[in-house]
Symmetry: D5
Subunit: 96 residues, 10 copies
Amino acid sequence: MLFHVRMDVKLPRDLSAEEAVEILAREKAYSQDLQKSGKWRHIWRIAGQYANVSIFDVTDNAELHEILSGLPLFKFMDIEVMPLVRHPSAVRGDDS
Amino acid sequence: MLFHVRMDVKLPRDLSAEEAVEILAREKAYSQDLQKSGKWRHIWRIAGQYANVSIFDVTDNAELHEILSGLPLFKFMDIEVMPLVRHPSAVRGDDS
Amino acid sequence: MLFHVRMDVKLPRDLSAEEAVEILAREKAYSQDLQKSGKWRHIWRIAGQYANVSIFDVTDNAELHEILSGLPLFKFMDIEVMPLVRHPSAVRGDDS
Amino acid sequence: MLFHVRMDVKLPRDLSAEEAVEILAREKAYSQDLQKSGKWRHIWRIAGQYANVSIFDVTDNAELHEILSGLPLFKFMDIEVMPLVRHPSAVRGDDS
Amino acid sequence: MLFHVRMDVKLPRDLSAEEAVEILAREKAYSQDLQKSGKWRHIWRIAGQYANVSIFDVTDNAELHEILSGLPLFKFMDIEVMPLVRHPSAVRGDDS
Amino acid sequence: MLFHVRMDVKLPRDLSAEEAVEILAREKAYSQDLQKSGKWRHIWRIAGQYANVSIFDVTDNAELHEILSGLPLFKFMDIEVMPLVRHPSAVRGDDS
Amino acid sequence: MLFHVRMDVKLPRDLSAEEAVEILAREKAYSQDLQKSGKWRHIWRIAGQYANVSIFDVTDNAELHEILSGLPLFKFMDIEVMPLVRHPSAVRGDDS
Amino acid sequence: MLFHVRMDVKLPRDLSAEEAVEILAREKAYSQDLQKSGKWRHIWRIAGQYANVSIFDVTDNAELHEILSGLPLFKFMDIEVMPLVRHPSAVRGDDS
Amino acid sequence: MLFHVRMDVKLPRDLSAEEAVEILAREKAYSQDLQKSGKWRHIWRIAGQYANVSIFDVTDNAELHEILSGLPLFKFMDIEVMPLVRHPSAVRGDDS
Amino acid sequence: MLFHVRMDVKLPRDLSAEEAVEILAREKAYSQDLQKSGKWRHIWRIAGQYANVSIFDVTDNAELHEILSGLPLFKFMDIEVMPLVRHPSAVRGDDS
């Protein structure tokens, strides 16, 4: 089941450089593990923004929330979620 | 080069059933041709909306505009475009 | 799996009284069938508005979209969807 | 009498971990007491958000305000209230 | 129990002068009956707008909705409702 | 001459408890003096919000601004003003 | 007493050329009479818009509303009103 | 050439009383010099707001920007600019 | 003197194909004459939109308004204007 | 390939004067190098704002993002990007 998620990151000004490096490394590892597992199906950077658009493929809403609320950067993000369904004109097998 | 496009469709109330059938058939064929060519890489329906989120893979801005402005439903749509780039955490080869 | 849905109805001014009676009767029957089946778990009117807030309990996004896009009033509604999950403080068994 | 309430939580960055643990424990106990009494009829987490949607069943506006302004997290929340009434298509006995 | 209601009127352009006169006369009578009964406690015109701000004193949400949805101009209005409670600094006896 | 005023209060996080107690006591006294004089005709709390809706009865714009800008909480408030006039359907003598 | 008023004009598409000429002539005469009397103190066109910004000098809110609601174009306008007061830094005698 | 400018002032909470007194005195002198020169043609306080509406009469855009960016409070303001032109119905000689 | 102008075109549904062809031809000629004269310095289509971003180089606000309000499509457009000035970092001679 | 970019700068209040001088000098040099190379084709200040409108001429989305995310002021800016294409009415050779 697919979800469209947009994440906008706002790092607080008082985050030290060390903390930032550490949290961003954890975020990257967390994201890549989920990408490899197939749960986090796509991720793109929005040009000119500290933001991404992602497609998640999860079992249900609960799994989606568990993944998102577990993001190391969760408390520094604005997140918007839209549930997706297969489009009646889609030809690509895995767009659902 | 990838673009994120959201299309919201608003069919006018005075569109006859025949016109609607005809234009929607043309829209579907137009979309599927572009999907098969790889230009229109993904398309998903947003649940509960007469709207889609799509990912286009085009040569440049001009090709994107030519495709979008050529949509049979173009004049009945609100369209939002965001240029995308590869995310530094992406693992999937074709997410760029 | 639960979804929060808000529906705002805008009947077009040129809808005849007969058409309105007929479509509203179909809408009511459609809604009540889904309520009885347990898919449309709650529905409330928002005071002072021609609008409702509903909770759906469906298998997946696809079933939600099928239900919403099948509403007799679908083309006369603005619909907003939010996926829900069990709240960690919830005590009621069926709030998930 | 039913009210629809959405609460968005924004914990300030300078809240210590101890304070956070303490206030969240009080919030949970406060919410669960009201849920058990039937005043706080439903609570759901919005997927991907530090936010909830709740349904309150109270005697009047004054009781609603007393409950909401007494929330331990009240000063860290944005709260939106909508009065609800029974929907004419509702079949469930307690949706009013 | 008090509610703050704002009503913005938008008469459709194809409403005939006769229909307008008739519906506005019914609206006025409807409003004045409720004002005399004490249910519609205050009504003010917003300067420069075809809009009013009103205070209703009703038994519950259901009575409020019955009154508002029964307005002859209901289908030509945008309506916003806010539940009110006595302010802790209020000195006037009937501001609750 | 009547004005509709909405005030939303946002106390800064670094306001000490002592300062808060003192400023809120001054605010209350200031408001009650004006209520007793008839200048501040009504005040209601919006349910679930740290906000009020008030009706002022003043000689002119200048007096309104003098009152509002003199509020002890003025610098911690968002204030919206709408000039009111007697509604043509009003029956209550003092709604103007 | 001064008010800042912004008026945005939207002529309906089905207004005949004759009706438009006639109503615009009446609007101009109405405005110029009030300008000559000193009630409509200033009027400027916003560059690139079918809109104006005006300053009215009236006795009270009621007179302002009588003037605005009497505009021949009133039903084709969006109007926003802000009450003004003398600025503490003003040097010009008639800016109050 | 005329411009309509709205300025909303937000003094930061950590500005000392001395700094505030000093900067506000400079702002007042700056504004009054420009008013006397005729460049800052009008200034009004918006009732209930820490904000003003002003009319500037300058040679060109560059002079307007030089004036606005030179305001002592510039970095504590939100500023909106609209170019104005003579209204075809204007009767007052200097409204252009 | 430079202005940034965004124009969004919304052709009404009841405009005949003949009228559309004629008005668009006039719009194009009007625009190209001004481009050749140097008044309309730049024009770009926004990808995926029936909209353009333009830079005008005019003597004053009045000339800008005369040009914009003379556009054959003026009544079918939403127009936004921003005055520009030379940027302190600009290196290009004609960016002012 | 052209992009329209708007940048709004918000320097944090705790940035020291030295840091500000240093970062602004780096920003200026960065911008001027790109202008000289032809990548940053135009830059204009918006009158009355700490903001600019720029036109970039880049190879693709990736180059645009690399340039924007490398701005010394990037973390203190709100940035909006719109892809541009040649307008069918354009006469100027380099507006594409």
